[in-house]
Symmetry: C2
Subunit: 204 residues, 2 copies
């Protein structure tokens, strides 16, 4: 078990170095991951959604790998005292991002353990507040192979795509050029009617 874990970390670090990943790339991904996790964690709690809680658990695994990746890249970088001081600052930020992610996981623990149905959480959503939903794009959906620019979902139905999960890959801030694929998991923000409209468009 221990050995297997060590092997995994070897792989993470080797892949990062061989793909020429930079500290900046990894730090951006840690920022995006931690922000999305907080967003999803509170939404999961307020709607008592186990589905969304499980997306947070998936992201926590991503975050753990990123932590090893950035630590390895930073350890390979420092060549003198001045550089080490700069890199210590970056490590400090990376650890803070990881702590944010851990706290997001603490929030969804309540949902995972089945005590997220306390009425207080659901009353925390105001009438006007946007909700987050997780929608799978079906094979016959009109969204398949269209870009977000073509679809103009926010103008047409008031729903905004916060992130997309495609297998194990996450797209955190999809833009106009992002093309939707069959099987994509959309993380959507919007009011209830907007989310229902989008759900219909994804399943058909």
């Amino acid at each position: 078990m221990e050995e297997e874990k060590e092997h995994e970390v070897d792989e993470i670090v080797e892949r990062a170095v061989s793909h020429g990943r930079s500290v900046k790339d990894v730090l951006i991904e840690m920022k995006n991951t931690s922000e999305l996790m907080v967003d999803l964690a509170y939404s999961s709690l307020l709607t008592n959604s186990r589905e969304i809680a499980e997306e947070v658990q998936r992201l926590e695994k991503v975050m753990d790998d990123l932590q090893y990746e950035i630590e390895a890249l930073l350890l390979l970088s420092a060549r003198n005292v001045e550089e080490a001081a700069d890199l210590a600052g970056i490590l400090h930020v990376a650890l803070a991002a990881e702590n944010i992610a851990d706290s997001a996981e603490d929030i969804i623990d309540v949902v995972i353990r089945g005590i997220g149905d306390h009425p207080i959480y659901q009353t925390m959503i105001s009438e006007s507040e946007e909700q987050i939903a997780r929608i799978v794009v079906g094979p016959n959906s009109e969204l398949v192979n269209k870009s977000l620019g073509e679809l103009r979902l926010s103008k047409r139905i008031g729903a905004y795509i916060r992130a997309i999960r495609r297998g194990n890959r996450w797209i955190y801030h999809p833009d106009k050029k992002t093309v939707i694929k069959e099987g994509d998991i959309l993380i959507v923000k919007g009011d209830k009617p907007a989310i229902e409209s989008l759900r219909a468009m994804c399943s058909s």
Copy 2:
């Protein structure tokens, strides 16, 4: 020093109880505060803004008070084992929100200590990404005494008011009915030109 601190906590708890604040009210405020702190902390780092870092420090003080408030309210609430179990779940969420806030403060520590000028942070902002700015509403600004519904800032200039600080009070999700006052500190999201337009409207 110790005694003064104890006195302060007495006051926080008394005020909460006498104002009839509920666990729900405080939990919503903790959620909103922690979310805003994460948003501001990363923005402060990416723009090396000490001003925004200081808003995070202000919010951390708010968060500390909220933590005492919710703990006191929860301790006053439990009357049997079942209730205690429910309330333990709520306390767990409150502590997670407080940890998110602490991690946000860890991020801005880099800015406060003056090591936020490492070029890596500023290169993390993509061309298209929205930035956060902190803008004071001047006495002759055209925004004074107008509601956000009247101003339609997002349609007119593409800037979105994320939060407003009015003295020590925070408005986290201002809506159409929120009226802007002289001296308000606006926390604004938008691209560079939108923020510059709004800055001009606030100073004139």
